[in-house]
Amino acid sequence: MNRRGEGLGKWLVSGPPILYLLLFFAIPALIMVLASFRTPGEFGGLAPLIDEAGKPDVNVDSYVRFFTEPVYTQIFVKSFVYAVATTLLCLAIAYPLATLIARSSKRHRDLLLLLVILPFWSNFLIRVYAWMIVLGPQAALARMVNGLLGAFGAEPVSLLFSSFAVLICLVYVHLPFMVLPLYANLEKHDQALLDAAQDLGANAWQRFWRITFPLSLPGVYAGAALVFIPALGIFAIPDILGGPDDSLIGNVIKQQFLETRDWPFGSVLSIVLTVAALAFAGLAAWVGARSTRREASGA
């Protein structure tokens, strides 16, 4: 009786969220996978499942197209490069921030951490828009840069609508995702290790590269996954801040669904993106687990 009650309770509690997420997450995702094996309809959407000749519409044309038209692989590579650059720049900016927070007194810690998270909670588009102003042609930064370039006899450049604008905004938007896991890791470090190294004559540089940094790797991998995956699929930032050559994979997916209306090909691109993102997350988790194990067994 009791056990049956337990089982019933389990389904009463977990059933509704499971049903909801199956219906509005898993099934749509599955439909997208199925759509990738279909032919685009004449007016968008999908062609009829059974055509006039009675043949079912199942093919891998869209996959063939993805792998045979180099422009799509190139865009994927470009998105990959942007995401890697974003991850590395975030790491460089996040490290001092996370170190400072981890080293400050308990009283200041929460405030300093809150200050990192707060911008993340403001609207995404506002944060992109802010860079339109900062990098705008009449803003102080552009005038300064172009003044300098002019002094060297170079042509003036546009900071807005450029790869530079896309990259700086990608870093800006994703920075908190790097700071948080890095901080969570750095906070646990044992100061005695650094003191011991110092007593043995290691300078600050050696202490950082041979102790702090290797120990922080699990945090780095977690942060890298949190930055890299969303950065890979972004479409609004290149759309708003980028030039004509800055289209990333997200922009092509948006274009396939809303402009070209080629659902099967859009689905193929989305699936490749998902696989790439999940593969990267898996890789980060695996490398992270391995380095933690090594650290545990090596100590």
């Binding site: 509005f24 170190t99 969570a184 993102a277 997350a281």
Partner: protein, 264 residues
Amino acid sequence: MRSFPARSRWLWAAAGAGYAFLYLPLVIVVVYSFNDSRLNAEWVGFTLDWYRKLAHNDEMQTAAANSLIIASVASLVSTVLGTMAGVAMYRYKTRLLPLLVLTPIAIPEILMGVSLLIFFVLLNFSLGLVSVALAHIAFCIGFVAIVVRARLSGMDETLTEAARDCGASPWQTFRYITLPLIMPGVIAGALMAFTLSIDDFVITFFTAGAGTITLPLQIYSMIKIAVTPEVNAVSTLLMLLTLILIVVATRVSPSLLRSNEENE
């Protein structure tokens, strides 16, 4: 605090630059919303004109009303479902639920947007407020579930055992013991869901259809045309709203900020 004067100075400088990078752009948005100039380039003088313009912008008001309706419905439903998911993930061993709850958070947003677009269109479900709210609920459930689950893992398990021993039914135990204890987590999760919903652009962009606007969609179409201080004004108000919600959420559940709970 340990004292490393020289190195500390470098650290403060680098971290200070990091904070400046995070805040300067947003400060500029706010400051220029009070600037008496069409161009977001130089400070000319103080004005509230852009806010007055905003008050008379019908499109913006429709968008704001839509956003508030969607966010209220989405946060209400996702809080109920997310709390159930959080409790279920904590109490029972289920493989399927964590997968369903966490994957939407882990994958790029655009994927959920386009797959829901196909789903709604194939079902002949007309795109609009309802489809956006359904989509928002789907991605908010996970965030609520995580917050609730974190709150549960800090709970004293003997309390529920005592209630059961005293003859309380599972529902009574939940209603009178568990729920009051996890309430701060539930409220924090609800506020989080509200904020996520009102701020969402990507998933809304794909599920709203042509006729429906929300605040982020309205901001998007404005900044695609031109940079105008009216956008600064609406941005400032939106940031203020978010700030209030966050302050309330952290007051209710201070542990929301401590990242060490994520590791459990």
